[in-house]
């Protein structure tokens, strides 16, 4: 069983509300749920859609076909009707479309009328639609009723009751009228995990790493991190500040980190471009900082609500001067959680900037993920404070050490002073132009830390055949998509995915199994959501390995499993 539901209509019509309640209901019923969103950069109007795929087996990408289309306006039908599967159904309200459709795959439900009659308020129309979907799927109403009760509880008992009545009306109508509905939804039970999107997972990863300060300037598609942090600020003791601009945001986070707490900032490409000066500041002052860069297509304003993987080399090489950094690109919300945690750990342990590189697709996609495991969360406070600091005869913020890492003291905690400078500085942190000190500081920051950081980096994930003839190379948010594509093609080809989520320092390759798999594959095809194969360039500069075949997409839309499968097949058959 593997169904796709799509809710399509204008911005402001309640697409997200229907999608959210349906996803929660399906998750709670015990299904694996994957949802993603396609929306325009506007508040009202336009054409948006929310896609939910659910199954009794794990799902991690979207399919091309739509089994149940909820069309909230005429365009909703026109734009997606062609994607309907053989047994697929369309649900619509003739009052909303202004047109009536007389086809067996179309079910007219008087959403608005039922909302007014039963829900006592036209606003309950979304609840009518949600329940009609549950009815069409032949599912029980019980879980939906629970979700509705919880969702509307804070709005009062009357609102809850109105919505429950509206839901029953929509459900009964669909059950009685949808004679062609042949969906087979097996009974399942117990939620398989939690439903998180990339932004929520990054924010939760930060909170679980002890982040105490988050400052940012709103920018799509990274704003969800700021929202989530703000929603938890009081509960967990975090100062969340919306800065006047991204320059202010990164400098505030650096100030907070200098003062002794874990701090983070986030933005999308254009906002991060403004932070670049601050990145270099964090590096020079060896102040730990975590930066989330949630990519969207550029250059400049680009496509604000769409997806791309075109900031990899920017994030990797930006910032004046030479300094080490960490760059992680999670492939799923689960990876986003654990890699954000690892970014905080490495940033503080090595006193370097660490990036979590995400994109709109990951930011807005919700996956069913396993309950988060505290055993897998790293938490060690690397700061020097209290008695340990007080007992030192002398404290030097930038002391030369074997590892290049100097003790990171909390200012004000003892009488020892913490001094640092954006100018080149001596061990104590005071400005200097001494040539020998400069040399040793560069060696400390770059040559000593980098090899140690590299040791912490995990190799890529390999999925599929052990000795693949065809290897699909990918990184970041395309993980689920490529993995499912491998599943689809594995009966026809000896095929595997090689997915990189820890990109810099680049994983050790010499003598490693992953590198010999790469070298031994007959066909090696990269899949990147950009035009210039940025990952392949990184791979080549780090390992000299040259990838010759590429699948690129740069229209701002993610691949579906079916589309990527087709591309891979064409590539393989194109040059036999």
């Amino acid at each position: 069983m593997d169904y796709t539901i799509r809710i399509a209509g204008e911005a402001g019509q309640g697409i997200q509300t229907i999608g959210g309640v349906l996803s929660d209901t399906l998750l709670r019923s015990g299904f694996y749920v994957f949802s993603c969103q396609d929306y325009m950069s506007r508040i009202r109007g336009g054409h948006n859609f929310f896609t939910i795929r659910f199954s009794d087996a794990p799902v991690m990408a979207s399919r091309k076909g739509v089994d149940l289309l909820v069309a909230l306006n005429l365009e909703g039908i026109q734009n997606h009707r062609d994607l309907l599967t053989e047994r697929g159904m369309i649900l619509y309200d003739p009052e909303a479309t202004g047109e009536t459709f007389e086809a067996e795959e179309v079910l007219a439900v008087p959403l608005r009328k039922l909302a007014v009659q039963e829900g006592k308020n036209p606003i309950t129309e979304n609840t009518v639609a949600t329940a009609a979907v549950i009815g069409m799927l032949g599912m029980d109403m019980k879980v939906l009723e629970e979700v509705i009760t919880e969702t509307f509880r804070r709005k009062g008992e009357e609102v809850v009751q109105n919505n429950l009545r509206a839901a029953r009306a929509g459900y009964n109508y669909a059950v009685q009228k949808c004679l062609r509905c042949g969906f087979v939804v097996p009974p399942v039970s117990n939620p398989k995990g939690l439903l998180l999107n990339g932004n929520e997972a990054i924010a939760l990863g930060a909170i679980a790493s002890g982040c105490r300060f988050y400052s940012a300037y709103p920018m799509t598609p990274s704003t969800g991190i700021l929202n989530f942090m703000a929603s938890r600020a009081t509960r967990y003791g975090i100062v969340v500040e919306q800065a006047e601009d991204e320059i202010g945001a990164i400098n505030m986070a650096i100030g907070a980190s200098f003062a002794g707490v874990r701090a983070m900032t986030g933005s999308s490409g254009g906002g991060f471009a403004l932070m670049v000066e601050g990145l270099s500041l964090a590096a020079m002052t060896e102040t730990p900082i975590v930066i989330a860069e949630v990519q969207r297509p550029g250059p400049a304003t680009g496509l604000p609500t769409r997806t791309e993987q075109a900031d990899l080399l920017f994030v990797l090489y930006t910032g004046h001067g030479e300094f080490p950094r960490v760059v992680f690109a999670p492939g799923s919300p689960e990876q986003a959680f654990y890699l954000t945690n690892k970014a905080f750990d490495l940033a503080e342990r090595f006193q370097v900037p660490a990036f979590v590189l995400s994109d709109q697709y990951l930011a807005d996609s919700r996956w069913t993920i396993q309950p988060l495991n505290p055993e897998r969360v790293l938490y060690r406070d690397y700061r020097l404070k209290g008695e340990e600091l007080r007992s030192l005869k002398q404290y030097l913020r930038h002391a030369f050490t074997d590892t290049g890492v100097s003790p990171l003291a909390v200012p004000g905690d003892t009488e020892h002073l913490v001094v640092t400078d954006s100018d080149e500085h001596d061990e104590e942190g005071h400005i200097t132009e001494d040539a020998l000190i400069r040399q040793r500081m560069v060696q400390k920051r770059v040559f000593r830390k980098l090899p140690l950081l590299k040791k912490e980096i995990s190799p890529p994930t390999i999925y599929g055949s052990d000795r693949p003839e065809v290897l699909l190379l990918c990184w970041g948010s395309t993980y689920g998509l490529v993995k499912e594509t491998v599943d689809t093609l594995s009966d026809r080809y000896s095929i595997a995915m090689m997915h990189f989520s820890e990109l810099y320092p680049f994983p050790e390759h010499s003598g490693q199994t992953w590198f010999s798999i790469l070298q031994n594959a007959r066909r090696c095809i990269s899949v990147e959501q950009n035009a210039t194969n940025q990952f392949c360039k990184l791979l080549r500069s780090e390992t000299s390995f040259h990838v010759k075949e590429h699948i690129n997409r740069y229209d701002g839309r993610p691949f579906t499993v079916d589309e990527l499968t087709e591309h891979v097949q064409k590539t393989l058959e194109g040059h036999k």
Binding site: L204, A208, A243, L281, D381, G412, S422, I431
Partner: protein
């Protein structure tokens, strides 16, 4: 005690107006009985930015224009720390102008000391936002074409919690103003007129000394009167506390800070994961 504030040897020009500013600051800190570790100075880039190295304190000498955001970050996670931002006129009124507007709005309990010499010193003599129209430089060969910024009027217009002007040539009074700014609860702007003896041939010690006077019988709570004083410039230049109000500070408006500084807050991973992650129903 006096040695406690002796830092590195200054690299300023002989006779630089920064020396009396540094001496006033050391004296003010001593008289307030503040110890170096209780204090963080965040400075920018320019001759003023070097100041914290020439005394002893926790120091973050950051980027040009970015003193206030760094100071804001420090203060918000550790409100017990005394945080002073030291910047120059180009640093704070030019490069960092936007941060100044919003720092005044936030009203975080930070003290901003601006060494205002009406010129760029470190880059050798270009116009600053406060340079007067009569000044010519290599990059402004026809003289300055823009009106000078009036930081005092700007701050009063934004209802800044504490606005004062001091003068490096009146060290005793400058020290008192610094003490008052540090003791005030709220964002304090202290604009310090400070001659650049090398590059500014217009606003010299004698130019200032002929004009600068100490404000007397002025009620700094009177905003309209404060604005009138803020507009005085030219033959007579007032120094002293020009405006003050007792607005609530941002630290008081952040509920969790009532429980103490975040730098001392314990961390409980299990509580977070129990509340968030093991509850699939959220």
């Amino acid at each position: 005690m006096s040695d406690e504030y002796t830092g590195q040897i200054p690299a300023w020009c002989p006779g630089c107006g920064n020396f009396p500013v540094l001496e006033s600051l050391k004296q003010a800190l001593m008289e307030l009985k503040l110890r170096p570790f209780q204090l963080t100075i965040v400075s920018g880039i320019g001759q003023a930015g070097k100041l914290p190295h020439y005394t002893r304190c926790n120091t973050f000498n950051g980027l040009h224009g970015r003193t206030l955001p760094v100071a804001t970050g420090v203060k918000l996670v550790n409100p017990e720390m005394i945080v002073i931002a030291v910047a120059g006129d180009g640093d704070c009124y030019g490069e960092g102008g936007n941060h100044l507007l919003h720092a005044i709005r936030r009203n975080v309990n930070i003290k901003l000391f601006v060494h205002n010499n009406q010129i760029y010193g470190l880059t050798k003599g270009q116009a600053s936002p406060t340079s007067m129209e009569s000044l010519k430089s290599k990059t402004q060969p026809f003289g300055i074409l823009s009106e000078p910024l009036n930081p005092i009027a700007l701050a009063v217009a934004l209802d800044c919690s504490f606005v004062a002007r001091g003068y490096a040539g009146d060290q005793e009074f400058l020290k008192d103003l610094m003490k008052e700014a540090i003791s005030h609860r709220g964002f304090a702007l202290l604009d310090i007129l400070q001659p650049c003896v090398t590059f500014n041939k217009v606003n010299t010690y004698s130019w200032y000394s002929e004009r600068v006077y100490r404000l007397k019988d002025h009620d700094p709570q009177d905003r309209i009167r404060a604005f009138q004083v803020a507009l005085q410039w030219g033959d007579r230049i007032p120094t002293g506390v020009i405006y003050r109000n007792e607005r609530s500070i941002m630290e008081d408006r952040i509920p969790i800070l009532k429980e103490g500084p975040l730098t001392k807050r314990p961390f409980d991973l299990n509580k977070i994961l129990e509340e968030e992650a093991f509850n699939p129903l959220k």
